[in-house]
């Protein structure tokens, strides 16, 4: 999140998040660049395999097509 805020802050030229300190440096400067290399499809596939309500039954709504009458 902090890495994303840095990026968005630079785009809108506003004050960025505070500089990383201690362990934050590892997460921001090492983990995040590696995380960004992984394609979204792979990341979302991992997230979707985690336990949660999304793995239960959720029926997609059927939407009618064409003119109503």
């Amino acid at each position: 999140m902090v890495a994303a805020q840095e990026k968005v802050a630079a785009k809108y030229r506003v004050t960025p998040p505070a500089r990383p300190r201690g362990r934050e440096w590892f997460w921001l400067r090492v983990y995040v660049p590696l995380y960004r290399v992984v394609p979204w499809r792979a990341r979302s596939a991992i997230m979707r395999r985690m336990p949660g309500s999304h793995r239960m039954t959720w029926t997609e709504a059927q939407r009618p097509r064409g003119p109503a009458i």
Binding site: Q5, V8, Y12, T15, S44, P51, G52, S53, H54
Partner: protein
């Protein structure tokens, strides 16, 4: 024999569930246990009573205790349910022992995340939740000169605005670089922050909470930028699902921290449903679970849980999460993803931004409306929006949530029809302008 439906929790989800269960099966013995003195009020309205926009707390109640009794809903006030057993189908209730049920609905809501710092047990720390406590705090506010709001969460934004309206010297501390920095973008909240400063609020961003200072009662908040003297601290940390009782009974929870449910609000335990801030539901764009939504989500989920527990058939759908609020002199709102959140999750997206107007350009009271749209590259399906203005934000957020849910594209929005009537709508709809800007940016 009438079935007994027990509801644990008397907030929006619990009362929604109880009412729906009774409507579905009028013969059912519907019983609600709440640890609080009241049920069925709007805690979301509390900041506006503190800010004096709403004259009294009584208006926040949906119905009287007699009205619930008249509907046949048996509410046990100030009665804590400490656990339940799904094999014996009993709820352990303080003062009542084990109470049997046929169907159980969990609506235990949320707790604020612990600040996790020294001094968190001092007097003078206000967690906005219970209306009776809010009534007491409202009297305290009359004597407060200086207050610190901890964290720029949605409630934090409302409380900063309320305390400023109240004439109290208000400080806001937040570890983020701008308000609501996990959910919104800096260009959207910038006008809000400017209006707070105009009202005298002191904003301390990139500032972490180190502790609360005082002997018995808080007299200062210790931060990474030093101590801020105060008479009161309003703690507005993240809402976490209150799943303690459910987890102890073996009900499964998910990766977002909430109780796992399906589209019927049915949990992993037999004859147990759940609803509200204690559950998690999938997001319609990502299919990743989310938790801690609005009172309207909780109430709707409660209706689904209550109907199904009583024997009916009612489905809930994945959420797109429209949101909106008044903060400072502005309305902000949106749906699903901001640029910041999409970037943080690594979701590919393209952005279009435009500034339109809320009424005809010549009509008194016309205001600027800034709209930002996010779309999936390629298909250009809408995946998020952010807005700031002084009117019409809520309606646009609701509309855009339906657009996200139904798979509307930026092309659809760029050519949308809109109401043109000088007092209520301009020739060019700001949403359409943002969509057209996005397409122009793509060179199409």
């Amino acid at each position: 024999m009438a079935q007994r439906i027990v509801v644990i929790g008397g907030g929006a989800a619990g009362i929604g569930a109880a009412g729906a269960a009774k409507a579905e099966d009028p013969s059912a013995d519907v019983r609600v246990y709440t640890e609080f003195e009241d049920v069925g009020y709007s805690p979301c309205g509390i900041p506006y009573v503190h800010g004096k926009e709403i004259p009294d707390f009584e208006r926040l109640f949906l119905a009287t205790k007699e009205a619930y009794a008249g509907q046949g809903i048996d509410i046990h006030y100030e009665t804590r349910a400490t656990g339940f057993n799904t094999e014996r189908k009993t709820v352990s209730v303080q003062g009542e022992g084990d109470v049997g049920y046929d169907k159980l609905i969990i609506a235990t809501g949320f707790d604020y995340a612990s600040p996790g710092v020294p001094g968190a047990d001092l007097d003078g720390l206000y967690y906005v939740k219970n209306i009776r406590r809010a009534m007491q705090w409202d009297k305290v506010l009359d004597g407060v000169r200086s207050a610190v709001v901890v964290e720029a969460s949605p409630l934090g934004l409302e409380m900063v605005t309320a305390l400023c309206h109240r004439g109290i010297e208000t400080h806001l501390i937040d570890p983020g670089a701008w308000a609501l920095s996990a959910a919104t973008d800096p260009d959207i909240v910038a006008p809000v922050q400017d209006s707070w400063r105009e009202k005298g609020a002191k904003l301390h961003f990139n500032t972490t909470l180190n502790g609360f200072v005082g002997d018995n009662s808080v007299r200062a908040v210790a931060t990474s930028d030093g101590e801020i003297p105060c008479d009161l601290a309003v703690v507005c940390t993240k809402k976490e699902a209150n799943t303690g009782v459910a987890s102890a009974a073996g009900v499964r929870t998910g990766s977002a921290g909430g109780i796992i449910v399906d589209e019927w609000m049915y949990t992993s335990a037999p004859m147990v449903w759940a609803a509200g801030d204690c559950i998690e539901v999938p997001h319609s764009v990502t299919n990743i679970p989310v938790q801690g939504l609005s009172g309207s989500h909780a109430y709707a989920q409660g209706k689904v849980a209550g109907t199904n527990a009583a024997g009916g058939r009612r489905r809930y759908q994945p959420v797109s999460v429209p949101w909106g609020m008044v903060a400072g002199d502005w309305m902000i709102g949106g749906v699903s993803f901001s640029e910041t959140l999409a970037t943080a999750l690594g979701i590919p997206h393209v952005v279009g931004v435009a500034e339109g107007i809320s009424r005809a350009r010549y009509y008194p009271g016309v205001e600027k409306v800034r709209v930002k749209l996010l779309a999936e590259p390629g298909s250009l399906r809408l995946i998020g929006a952010q807005m700031v203005g002084r009117e019409g934000i809520k309606e646009r957020a609701d509309f855009l949530a339906m657009a996200v849910r139904t798979g509307i594209t930026i092309g659809d929005l760029a050519t949308m029809e809109n109401v043109y009537s000088p007092p209520i709508g301009a020739l060019n709809e700001p949403i359409a302008l943002a969509a057209q800007a996005l397409l122009a940016g793509l060179g199409s």
